[in-house]
Amino acid sequence: MVITNGERPAPRINDLAFKIGTVNGTGSASANGLLRRAIFRMGIPVSGKNLFPSNIQGLPTWYEIRANASGHTARTERFDLVVAMNPATYARDVAEVTSGGWVMYDSTWPLPRELNRDDITFLGVPLAKMTVDNFKGSRVRILMKNICYVGALAALLDIDMEIVRGLLKETFAAKAKLLDANYLAIDLGYEYALEHFDCPLPVRLEPMDGNEDSIVIDGNTAAALGCVYAGATVAAWYPITPSTSLVDAFTAFCHQFRKDPETGRNRFAIIQAEDELAAAGMVIGAAWAGARAFTSTSGAGLSLMSEFIGLAYYAEVPSVFFDVQRVGPSTGMPTRTQQGDIQFAAYASHGDTKHIVIFPANPHECFEMAVEAFDLAERFQTPIFVLSDLDIGMNDWVIPKLEWDNSYRPDRGKVLTAEELEAATGPFHRYLDVDGDGIPWRTLPGVHPRGAYLTRGSGHDRYGNYTEDSEPYADVLARVGRKIERAAAHLPAPEIRLREGAEIGLVTIGGCRGAVLEAVDALAERGVEADYMRVRAFPFHPDVEPFLAAHEVNFIIEQNRDGQLRKLLIAETGAKKDALVSIRYFGGYPMSCHHVMDGLASYLDGAAAAAPDGTGPHEAASGALAPAREGATP
């Protein structure tokens, strides 16, 4: 049945967003993935965002798909169509459709009258009835109901059915019975929609050639692949959402690529530790003994690891920490995304510490930065943090195909070999800056008696001896500090995009990239030119400060309450505080272009100087005047 309300929107091709509301544990993930993959194979840039609860079965979950020919696939909150499969969230789902849009619902049961909206169209498909009539067994019926709505959506949005069928065939190649069931389900939905609705909708899809050299992958899988390619052999971890899938993927890749062909034994060790403290300790022990070792965690785990992080920093043990950020503080919202650990990672642990942190924006960078992290860790003999987040780590992104240069060899940094130690004329001293670059030579256990030294987190002098004396202690700590400062120029440079006539700078970090680049385009359409910079590492690369200095006002756009990137920029560059205006969204969903535009609203209205509460320009334009709204609603 169709209840048509409001005016039909103007035709729009390859620029739409829709959302499917289901109950977790009902197998909707594979159906939703099928949709996203089919659109990808039609050559249309597409993203899929899974908004899932911290729960195993029975709570609401949503999958959002955005297809956009211009490549703007950041999250949007304007949905042309919502598939409302979960009665518990009908009201919320119906409310989220843009005016003139559509709601598809299971018309086996009547839609509650109070949910009617007079500006959208309701498309009823009797999904439950169709599956009950055609399939046996409750589990199969539940699963096939999902495939039915895929079929209906294919008709409504003009998704290529040959591609959908091809994908089903690939998935169920070895299970003929399941394949037949899926074929039937997909046809049931498709035929019903064709028969009952005016298909396709004016907002629809059309094949294009936007994805020729692209793949779809999540950041955790890409990062895990990077670890395999970098030659990491020891992983120690403790399960925590949203980082678990990184080690899961690493495990799977190791079983695929790292088995000794003759003995079937493992060229890797993956240790599920008793907690994150132990995981960090194992990584540090393994790295100290010469392996490339890493851990993967999220903010809560990083808090536990901070004791060991200080040790690795001070004792100069190369180690790699992936922090797939989730919403904090404390347990926070485990299945929601945030950039809340920027400041913590930068200075984790007590005493004077400062760490190298790199910030991937997407799975492509997760792969590349994973490899780079191991090189940096060994070159600078220090812990390296790769700060991804739940959105990057667990959602599917379309990225350019990953490339690998077979001539790559790990940069193991300054490690003395047995031969070098044998030939050395003087004694070896672990913390002596013999080359004047702040990076001493290190040795590995088991190699040569002349390389021996005692690694310690207690006060030590440049010769590696215990000390409680002022000067020898300060000498080493100052040198370690210099080492990290000097590393800045060797870290990933910021991504900078300049535009003719730009007056303002938009500065961002990590996964906000898509939303901010979309905002740059949206601003240009309104006649406002903005330069763009995405910071990719801390300590800040030498290119960061000149960009800030070149703009009277820079908007620092990030996903946390306190403007952590802005704080770091103020603390660690010469930029003037008033020139850095904060735009923040921290509600737990991936950032959308409209968050950026809302944050810029007062600037665009020329009202920056007239903040109603007199907090001055940097707060006025920051969006912080309405933090409750920002934080409370997705």
């Binding site: 060790a269 540090i284 393994a286 100290w288």
Partner: protein, 357 residues
Amino acid sequence: MSYIKKPRIHHPALTRNRLGLTRRDYEGTMSTLCAGCGHDSITAAIIEAFWELEIAPHEVAKTSGIGCSGKTPTYFLKEAHGFNGVHGRMPSITTGAHAANRELVCIGVSGDGDSLSIGMGQFAHVVRRNVDMLYIIENNGVYGLTKGQFSASADVGSTAKRGQVNREHPIDSVLLSLNLGAGFVARSFSGDKEQLVPILKAGLRHRGFALIDVISPCVTFNDHRGSTKSYQYTRDNYNQLVYADFVPPAQEIATSIEVGDARSVRMHDGSHITFRKVPEDYDPTDRDQVYGYIRERQRAGEVATGLLYVEPAPQDATDAVDFHGLQGTVDEPLANYPFEDLCPGADALEKLQKRFR
């Protein structure tokens, strides 16, 4: 006597082992612990054990946590890499080092505070994981560096130096590790080098996790009347339950004949532990019985010592359930593995990505 520097030149007549090394070559720097500290006696026993086993010092990784015990790796094997990490976390660092390089001979020195309070979690899990290491707890029942607080191994009723009485139940590392499945469990006394050295040697040769809890009196904070970890108390209530000898592979036959009907337990590397004297109803390979027996001796007020429990090695080495056996790791240390055999390369990546279309 920390102000004294050790002489660099030694008497030429010092006995050399087959590596040509004297006991001096197995020493470290001068101890900075209190004169008479039990830990120093343990250090001396460690030096003796390594020298006798003829292990090249640089093949050893020595690790520790925080506290007086944490300082001791500096005092032995100066030609070995050492890692004095953070409090209670020695097990995880050792696990990582062993994961990366299985050829390292790992020895971890911890204390009762380090292992049974702050590091209880890591201690339990390193046992479970059966990491191939010798784990020594230098057990004095007290926190020395912070001046005399009770530790978790202090017995109910024992008194602190200033007279406070401990009323909380102790954690006994021997009973605990028996419970957790440790394959080698011993208790000894720093004042009994004759007993300690063979146990250390056997522990170093045991494949998998080996625990030696050594009562090691703190002369400054816990050696008074009322303490149950004092020299006097330990000597008065000492029960050398089990006499064990460590017999390296080469001497196997001769020694076996000498000991006659003594029980002999084979180890992974072909060496044996022979038990010279055990109580009649005591089987050191029966975990449940050992547990019960120790409990019984404790109720009688005795400190049962010796190599109390050992799991015989499986006949087939591939059945080993130590860390690397469980992991299924290759024989070559992961740390030395050629990069070419670790990186799948460009073609594999190209092929793999078809999955992501």
